[in-house]
């Protein structure tokens, strides 16, 4: 019973964790919104910065809200997550890369209409 209790409610999850997570999330959310709303930097720089902020905030949520640690569930949660992230990266980068090149190698519409 007590062993099961440990796995159900992670002993390291505390009010402290949620407080840190909340403060970090507020900063990591507010800054990208502020950057985009005020246009403080160039468009491209803002784009890269907010992507980095999103990645960091996702990690903050996983660590402080989902409480994924290397040792939870004997490491299986972490392994499953890394596997899923690998697939997510392949899906996203592969689709964007292939479709971008497909787009740029496509015959422009006005040339198609001029075909005999």
């Amino acid at each position: 019973m007590s062993a099961q209790h440990l796995t159900l409610t992670p002993p390291h999850a505390s009010q402290h964790d949620y407080a840190i997570g909340l403060v970090l999330s507020i900063v990591l959310t507010a800054v990208p919104f502020w950057l985009v709303m005020t246009d403080a930097m160039g468009k491209q720089a803002t784009g890269y910065v907010i992507m980095v902020f999103a990645a960091v905030q996702m990690i903050v949520h996983v660590v402080f809200f989902l409480h994924v640690r290397a040792k939870s569930e004997k490491g299986w949660t972490l392994v499953a997550m890394i596997f899923a992230m690998l697939f997510v990266c392949i899906t996203l980068s592969g689709s964007l890369w292939v479709m971008h090149h497909l787009d740029s190698n496509m015959m422009p519409a006005h040339e198609i209409s001029q075909l005999p």
């Binding site: 159900l8 409610t9 997570g21 989902l66 499953a80 964007l96």
Partner: protein, 210 residues
């Protein structure tokens, strides 16, 4: 080598499966199983994000993100969902201390935040459709409604699940089974918040930058 194998084989014959019954803790694998479901859900969202990434620029002469999105509204929605994650965390902490009243209170607050999030999102969708930006208008809007709508659908089911658990906790108290269910929903709820980080960054903020 062969000699030792035969010597040991004679002493205790090879067993190809575990013959003895062994204990399975009640619901022991539930959390890992639910986690694996969440990871597969993550792949669904990855595909929807990829679809949006590929099709998001095809406006078909219709309105683009800059004409449609209302960033202050998205900021409110983001804060509501973030706060709901925190209140769910507080509900879990109360549940661990076996405080039924506090658990129910925080679950109720989380449900209210969830409903507020859905109402704002529905209001946004209604406004877009009213302005003529329907899912049929362009590839950008089709993929936008599919991605954001799928997330909203997940939140809807999360709220239904949350209300169901509030009834169960009210009737049976914080039993081990109910705690396990609360834990699964907590993973689901925090997971949806993580997906929303992707949505507000890649769809709304990056859309405004185009």
């Amino acid at each position: 080598m062969e000699h030792t194998l035969t010597a040991e084989g004679a002493a205790n014959p090879l067993e190809f499966y575990e013959a003895a019954e062994h204990e399975h803790a009640d619901g022991g694998g539930t959390l890992l199983g639910f986690w694996i479901y969440l990871m597969s859900d993550c792949l669904i969202f990855a595909v929807l994000f990829a679809t949006y990434g590929v099709l998001g620029g095809n406006l078909a002469g219709g309105p683009g993100p800059r004409d449609l999105f209302d960033l202050p509204l998205v900021a409110i929605n983001t804060s509501v969902l973030l706060l709901s994650s925190i209140t769910y965390g507080l509900a879990m902490l109360s549940a661990r201390q076996q405080h039924i009243g506090a658990t129910q209170l925080w679950l109720g607050v989380t449900a209210l935040f969830g409903v507020a999030f859905l109402s704002i999102e529905l209001y946004e969708f209604m406004r877009l459709i009213h302005e003529g930006a329907t899912p049929q208008s362009s590839a950008f809007l089709s993929s936008f409604f599919t991605l954001v709508g799928s997330h909203g659908l997940h939140v809807t089911f999360g709220v239904i699940w949350l209300l169901t658990l509030m009834v169960q906790v009210g009737q049976r108290g914080l039993t081990a089974a109910n705690e396990r269910r609360l834990m699964c929903l907590s993973l689901f709820w925090h997971f949806l918040d993580i997906i929303w980080i992707g949505v507000f960054t890649f769809v709304y903020l990056m859309g405004m930058l185009r």
